[in-house]
Symmetry: C2
Subunit: 373 residues, 2 copies
């Protein structure tokens, strides 16, 4: 058995310790005589697994009592509809920051349910660096631009495809919209560093990047947002219904929750999010420095807005792309191909990517450049 350094954007690398434990417990969880996959979701064993996962998630993110955690299905793309279905009662519109591919998708889906006001958009602009391409920076929201009648303000905390990350959350007070709930798609940077949960009305995301297997969706919702659903909202996706039924109105994705719970324990054992954040900063710095110091590789995202999780980079000679990917694979570096809309490469370096993996990538990049210079 040989494990590769896996830079997939999601589903993505998981801690080897978690996978080893899952393998060891596959046929008999803690002497129960069953796999976790075979347990009734209402039985004492799974209830313990669920409760423990919820508590650890809350502890890691320091989630205040005012905010409830739901485990759902359908991913962030599902939530693009589920959020308005849950929050639009009595409203016609919501406000959006368009910072890249994922927020654009969120805005498009919202149009089924109401008027999307795009209050900031990362268009192509000219700044002191010359022409800055679209979706390579976090656009600013002008104070006063959020309509007081907005159901919420939505932003995507980390644009997985474009490699653009919010380092500061929108300050609703200074934007003159303190009463408008702030909603965040945190799919690809949740648990990568401490987060100001209390300032949000809603945080959601798919688990398959920084938490666990695909098929699990986390929702952190402030209690006062639980009763704003439209009548057409399906019960299985109604936050109030899911909350009142302890995330078991429909059968939850039990095995995915179990794996997520193991990941939470692994993060706690590392020392929690401050330690994790420092490691993530180091990993990203190492990679961006290699790119910036090179004549072959380029990342066009504004430095202050560069993602610490997803690092897209292009080769200045595009003809080398295929060779780069093929040699990388030979060196045990896999799933580096960039998203088709951006091209080039993308290295996703989530929590579970060890620093040794980033070192191996940087080492390969330097060698590749030297041999082809």
């Amino acid at each position: 058995m040989k494990r590769l350094w896996n830079f997939s954007a999601g589903p993505a690398v998981l801690p080897e310790a978690v996978l080893s434990q899952a393998a060891a417990e596959m046929l008999d969880w803690h002497g129960s005589g069953m796999s976790v996959m075979e347990m009734s979701h209402r039985g004492p064993q799974f209830m313990e697994i669920l409760q423990s996962a919820l508590e650890d998630f809350r502890e890691l993110l320091n989630i205040p009592e005012s905010h409830k955690v739901l485990f759902m299905q359908g991913g962030a793309i599902g939530q693009n509809a589920i959020v308005p279905l849950n929050l639009l009662k009595g409203f016609n519109s919501a406000a959006f920051v368009k910072s890249g591919s994922w927020s654009a998708k969120t805005i498009k889906e919202f149009a089924r349910y109401g008027r999307a006001d795009v209050v900031a958009e990362a268009r192509e602009i000219k700044d002191d660096s010359g022409v800055r391409a679209a979706n390579t920076y976090v656009p600013s929201i002008a104070p006063g631009s959020i309509s007081p009648g907005s159901a919420y303000l939505h932003y995507c905390g980390n644009e997985t495809i474009d490699g653009v990350e919010f380092k500061h959350i929108p300050d609703m007070h200074s934007l003159g919209a303190a009463h408008v709930p702030l909603v965040c798609d945190a799919s690809s940077n949740i648990l990568s560093r401490p987060m100001d949960v209390a300032s949000h009305g809603l945080i959601y995301g798919g688990a398959q990047k920084n938490i666990g297997p695909a098929g699990l969706t986390f929702v952190i919702v402030r209690e006062d947002q639980l009763d704003r659903a439209l009548d057409v909202c399906p019960s299985a996706f109604n936050y109030r219904t899911v909350y009142d039924n302890h995330s078991m109105y429909n059968t939850p994705p039990t095995y995915a929750i179990y794996i997520a719970g193991l990941v939470f324990k692994w993060l706690k054992d590392m020392g929690g999010l401050p330690v994790v954040a420092e490691l993530n900063r180091k990993k990203a710095q190492m990679l961006y420095e290699a790119i910036d110091g090179s004549a072959l590789y380029v990342n066009r995202v504004r430095h202050a807005d560069r993602s610490l999780m997803n690092v897209p980079f292009q080769l200045r000679e595009e003809a080398l792309n295929a060779e780069f990917l093929s040699l990388a694979q030979e060196r045990g570096l896999t799933q580096l191909k960039g998203h088709k809309s951006v091209g080039g490469m993308r290295a996703s370096i989530y929590n579970a990517m060890p620093i040794e993996g980033v070192e191996a990538l940087v080492d390969f990049m330097l060698t590749f450049e030297k041999e082809r210079a």
Copy 2:
């Protein structure tokens, strides 16, 4: 390690061979250097897993070309809303058979979207056996009772809680509604025997009973039913969108699909559904004969409609319930407690329950009765 005989109604027992293979492949699938959980859903390895699962599922059920298979999320409870959201365009109502707890739940959810016409209901009746309790038989649909303007006729093929199973599907021709699509919730008896897929417009269900882990939903939809969605239907749950994107409009529950694929291979290796059906018939017969031959145990479902998958039974002396469950657990027979709405016991004997498990249960039941008689 000791595996118990697991009679859970779902999530439920899986074949030990499948779990063993999953454990062995957990850290490195087929030399890929990755767990299946860590693979991009768009990478060649997972595409192979998905394609193979789809093909095997089609082959097992002999699904005709006219019918498409989708892998989704949200379970059958999610589909209670997703079905009307997808099929109600241009319609105000649908027709329903109310045969137990699950179909009742389906009908209740439908009311968000249209008028539910209950065309047959398993009420308490008097027949040649005396008083027959509600939800202990499959009610008959009177010819002509289905409104020609119905979007579809819905039935639940097997009522998991009540232990009532349709042995014959509604014949839409003889009911005078040949043009009305037939819709089946097949969550708990899919793959338990061959099925007449071609006569259905739609078949759906959660995977966690006879297919694999919770969090995966299968949908078998006739091509002409793909374009009847309401505008408020979320894209992630729109059959046309999911189909056009090969079940990858949102990230699919990759690991659950992988396990399902292993289960499909296991069923094929057994000889396919005719062999599986014969084994299921034997298992159920053994258990019902033990119940019927006993003075302690009783199952009140009409014989012709008894489920081959879920066998609820009561102890005539209810005071013995706790002792029964406790001694059963000591004998390695677990998750036998009945659903709270029915009481008593329930033995779910899905495909993955070996005949030896049913023999062990019957043996224990006879001993328990003898010792307490």
